[in-house]
Symmetry: C2
Subunit: 208 residues, 2 copies
């Protein structure tokens, strides 16, 4: 795997969104300048980002919107469906289970787990909360690809260890705790408390 | 304002969480080594991070847990209450309005806005969804500090322009769109679609 910076993947993801808008509006081609303007970057950066993955577009003609969309979807791993599962059926887990945005991009939430007897067996969106003791066997049986972790901070590392041992290689954590994973596993974290603290930090320090 | 890297604020935020755990367990002092072990860093890094904000701890005695907690809360702007408002009362906005974690850290959600007549006037947690046309006057009247933006991508930039013009200097956006703010405003983004794309990107490229 060629190492690509996270900022590059972020821009590719943005380019794809603009291309999809362009496609919906019936445009057939787009220039690197137009893509750059939408993404708040330069056309040189757009060309550099795309050149990492091959040769796109024709000099003077720009890029084919549909070809480039398809290529970017492939590069971003969006050309297929991923099986997603949620660990933790509390407030955040429940919101995730009912979030429709995932499905549109090929992320199919197919299982939700919890340890609380009061939550197990209850419906959540189109799913029913399953007993967390069934998680490991489900990971193999249902070919679960991506774990969304919505558990209290102290439960996060032990759960990550369990899902990694069961073969999961991609985890998105919402737990406000530092988590360690082996090098073959990709971990992303969304920590709303931390995002708010960055804001409050900025607000108090700007006041001075 | 001294420029402090985001990664430093992130570590300070983690240190504070450990200190609060330590305090709850009745410990009076903590060493930089213990803080480092919890935060997955080194004691030299801990001392360097803290030295940016003054002189803490005594050689050989470590840090006073309660003093350091108080200092970190002050540094992170957590020594006071912030008035938070949510723009967009859809699935994400509703989840945010009902998320209890904010209040515990001094982030008080006091208003939710939407443009949809069907949503305006409906209860959401302890609040009632307000008409978005009232937002600007509320920002001044209720002294709203922090905006949480949970709106469709195409609505994001115009709304940011409106809240910035009304005096808001801190925004957390959940909209999958690039947003521009003037230099005196701090913007953070949580983009779940993007986080998932980083994971799918890693999964397809590791397969090769």
């Amino acid at each position: 795997m060629k190492h690509i910076a996270e900022s590059t993947v972020r821009r590719l993801s943005l380019y794809l969104r603009f291309l999809e808008d362009f496609e919906a509006q019936g445009h057939a081609t787009i220039s690197s300048g137009e893509l750059a303007a939408q993404g708040g970057t330069t056309s040189a950066q757009v060309r550099k980002d795309l050149s990492l993955f091959g040769s796109f577009g024709k000099r003077g003609l720009g890029y084919s919107v549909s070809d480039l969309s398809r290529s970017l979807r492939g590069i971003l791993g969006l050309g297929r469906e991923w099986n997603v599962f949620i660990v933790g059926a509390g407030k955040i887990g429940a919101a995730l289970a009912q979030f429709r945005g995932f499905r549109q991009r090929g992320f199919k939430v197919i299982a939700v787990y919890d340890v609380e007897p009061a939550r197990i067996g209850r419906p959540l969106g189109d799913l029913v909360v399953r007993d967390q003791t069934e998680m490991e066997s489900d990971i193999a049986r249902l070919r679960l690809d991506i774990a969304l972790l919505a558990v209290p901070p102290e439960a996060a590392q032990p759960l990550v260890d369990r899902v990694v041992k069961a073969g999961v290689r991609a985890i998105l954590s919402f737990a406000p705790a530092p988590i360690h994973v082996p090098p073959h596993v990709t971990l992303r974290s969304v920590n709303m408390a931390f995002e708010l603290e960055i804001l409050s930090y900025a607000l108090v320090h700007a006041d001075k």
